[in-house]
């Protein structure tokens, strides 16, 4: 009698079942709630983890195969870029200052996201989200690594890349803004993490972060960054879907979850939008060849796309975050306010700044007809007059910071762009200052958390930001120079004006050699 041959390969559906759901088990030596202590304390109620729908149905073996193939292609392009002096193909070396901001401000977040998703995967009792979080965790560490590799080529030729993605994130004043955002999320429970990063950051705001940087790279001839962007794109699509699935899952599991989820959406939308101030500035001021204005990006990716998303979530009872009213005002201001800040503190930054030229100011007037000529052109014009007289303005005093977003208090009142917005709270007899109703609201909700904030200005005054062995009592002690040393910012090389910088001179000389005979 013929033996019936066993099937050698599992079907996709069976494979998915075995390789994801089949990997879970209930513990017996210890009760489940002891093994998964973080699953319940935030107040989110989950009745049936099996209801989790995995939209991608990706299994680990397939994951490795796809990612390996993608990375082979990525590294082939990066090698070609390096060997062919690809850095000379960019529009202008001024562009690289946006890349420096990306490397020092965004790449480290990828690494923290890796750790955060690993922790979320560990802490969720449900096997579906655990596997999804595991893959995202690996994606994020790959992204940190591939970004560092993609951008390391620039470090051979230009200033400001040498401290890379690790040293400055824990020290430099403006990098505390993205860092504190992720610290805030990582120190919350796993469900809040998923709303903060999985939903707000990856779903609601990711287009505003990645599209501008990647389109900016494409417009400005930066093939290294473009290639990385393409490579990461399929991962990002999966991350966005995970964030959305997670929020729907929470809302479908129990009606009591709605107010908690709404609170987190409100909080993390505002936190994210504050961080994106840096991106707005990059789009409007840092790209030699501009893609679109920050305001246009906001209208397309947040107001239109985000609006559709919130319509979709309305059936669960989710409302559009209240802060959006203020964002509608802010979209015409924040990029200018941010660049004005970096211009005057350029001596303390790891990239170069410049004043917009006449053509750029006209572009800004056209893109911001309600605000640029009225409020911001006069500022840039007067700074230019000072600079032309040899009196380039550098601000010599440390600014007051917001306790929550940690951005200097540069934002103005929603109803008056000529008045700085001051908000104040008191907790345990101590005063705390915030830049907006949004940040004040977040502080007042969890003051115990934000009183611990590592505010760079206060830390400098406490004496915690000097190299080891510094004696601040010696004659002629210059605290600013010591802080820069501690930041690993080389004074006179990495910081201050682009005009007259080594980057400018070298790029001109090298490109000259590539295109001329002399």
């Amino acid at each position: 009698m013929d033996m019936k041959a066993t099937k050698k390969k599992l079907g996709l559906k069976e494979k998915y079942a075995h390789m994801t759901r089949g990997l879970g088990w209930d513990t017996t030596y210890q009760p489940m709630d002891k093994v998964f202590p973080q699953a319940a304390f935030e107040g989110i109620k989950i009745h049936d983890w099996d209801k989790w729908e995995d939209p991608f149905r990706l299994t680990m073996d397939a994951y490795w195969k796809y990612q390996a193939e993608k990375e082979r292609k990525l590294y082939a392009v990066l090698d070609a870029f390096a060997q062919n002096n690809g850095h000379l193909g960019i529009t202008d070396a001024r562009y690289l200052n946006a890349v420096k901001l990306f490397l020092t401000g965004i790449s480290p977040l990828e690494y923290v996201a890796h750790r955060g998703f690993a922790a979320a995967g560990r802490n969720f009792p449900g096997v579906g989200p655990r596997v999804a979080c595991l893959m995202q965790s690996i994606d994020e560490v790959r992204h940190a690594q591939t970004q560092i590799h993609a951008l390391s080529n620039y470090n051979k030729f230009y200033e400001g890349f040498h401290a890379g993605a690790t040293h400055q994130i824990e020290r430099v004043w403006y990098l505390s803004v993205p860092k504190s955002f992720f610290d805030d999320a990582f120190s919350a429970g796993p469900f809040e993490w998923m709303i903060a990063i999985g939903f707000s950051f990856e779903y609601v705001l990711t287009n505003l972060l990645f599209v501008p940087f990647m389109s900016g790279a494409a417009y400005n001839g930066d093939m290294a960054t473009v290639t990385f962007g393409f490579s990461a794109q399929s991962d990002e699509a999966r991350h966005m879907t995970l964030g959305l699935e997670c929020i729907k899952f929470m809302l479908e599991q129990d009606p009591d979850n709605l107010p908690i989820v709404q609170k987190w959406i409100d909080k993390w939308a505002w936190r994210g939008i504050r961080v994106l101030t840096l991106v707005g500035m990059m789009m409007d001021y840092m790209l030699p060849k501009r893609v679109m204005s920050w305001k246009e990006a906001w209208e397309i990716y947040f107001e239109q796309n985000g609006g559709a998303l919130f319509n979709d979530l309305a059936k669960y009872g989710i409302k559009v975050p209240e802060c959006i009213t203020q964002c509608t005002v802010d979209k015409e201001h924040i990029s200018h306010q941010a660049w004005a800040t970096f211009y005057q503190y350029a001596h303390a930054s790891d990239f170069h700044t410049w004043l917009p030229n006449d053509e750029e100011m006209d572009w800004l007037s056209a893109k911001y007809p309600n605000t640029f000529d009225k409020y911001y052109r006069p500022r840039f014009t007067q700074w230019r007059e000072m600079a032309d007289k040899g009196e380039r303005f550098y601000n010599n005093t440390l600014p007051m910071l917001c306790q929550v977003c940690q951005i200097p208090m540069v934002f103005t009142e929603p109803d008056d762009p000529t008045k700085i917005c001051y908000r104040e709270s008191e907790y345990q007899g101590e005063k705390y200052h915030t830049c907006s109703d949004g940040c004040k609201h977040i502080f007042d909700d969890e003051p115990e958390k934000y009183i611990q904030a590592w505010l760079p200005v206060h830390q400098i005054y406490q004496g915690n930001c000097f190299p080891e062995g510094t004696d601040p009592t010696v004659e002629g002690f210059d605290p600013m120079l010591k802080v820069l040393e501690w930041y690993h910012i080389e004074n006179g090389k990495d910081n201050m004006d682009y005009e007259g910088s080594g980057d400018q001179a070298n790029f001109a000389a090298w490109r000259g050699m590539a295109t001329q005979n002399t």
């Binding site: 202590p37 973080q38 304390f41 935030e42 107040g43 429970g189 306010q337 004005a340 800040t341 005057q344 503190y345 409020y375 006069p378 500022r379 007067q382 700074w383 000072m386 009196e391 303005f393 601000n395 010599n396 005093t397 440390l398 600014p399 007051m400 910071l401 200097p408 208090m409 540069v410 000529t418 008045k419 700085i420 001051y422 104040e424 345990q428 101590e430 005063k431 705390y432 200052h433 909700d445 969890e446 115990e448 958390k449 009183i451 611990q452 904030a453 590592w454 505010l455 200005v457 206060h458 005054y461 406490q462 004496g463």
Partner: protein, 118 residues
């Protein structure tokens, strides 16, 4: 609302006055002068006289603005936490009740960067 946590969540504040080596933080903003993007944070001994703040520390930060020399401090308006505040030039910060992390706003009516708020 309090932080939800698995344990008693209680950590010290990072910026209490004892950490500033005998000094206190004082924030000062000059309204209508956005050449300076944000209010300033000063770290000063509590026995700093208000006159020293006005004659030494603020000019160090602000004097590059052409309006600074025009200020008539007899007419200047001060706010503390948004409320009217009448400083006494001859008293110290501590003597006039200025505490750690207080915020002052200096208003100089008529001066606003020639209407540009620069």
């Amino acid at each position: 609302m309090a932080v939800k946590a698995l344990y008693d969540y209680n950590y010290p504040a990072a910026d209490t006055q004892d950490k500033f080596h005998g000094n206190q933080l004082l924030y000062v903003g000059w309204d209508d002068h956005l050449m300076f993007c944000a209010p300033f944070a000063y770290c000063l001994p509590p026995d700093t006289k208000f006159s020293e703040l006005v004659e030494k520390h603020l000019p160090h930060s602000y004097s590059r603005h052409p309006d600074w020399a025009q200020i008539d401090f007899a007419k200047a308006v001060w706010l503390k936490s948004g409320q009217p505040f009448q400083p006494d030039m001859n008293k110290t910060l501590a003597e006039q009740g200025l505490k750690h992390k207080d915020v002052l706003r200096l208003q100089t009516p008529g001066l606003n960067g020639n209407g540009t708020y620069f």
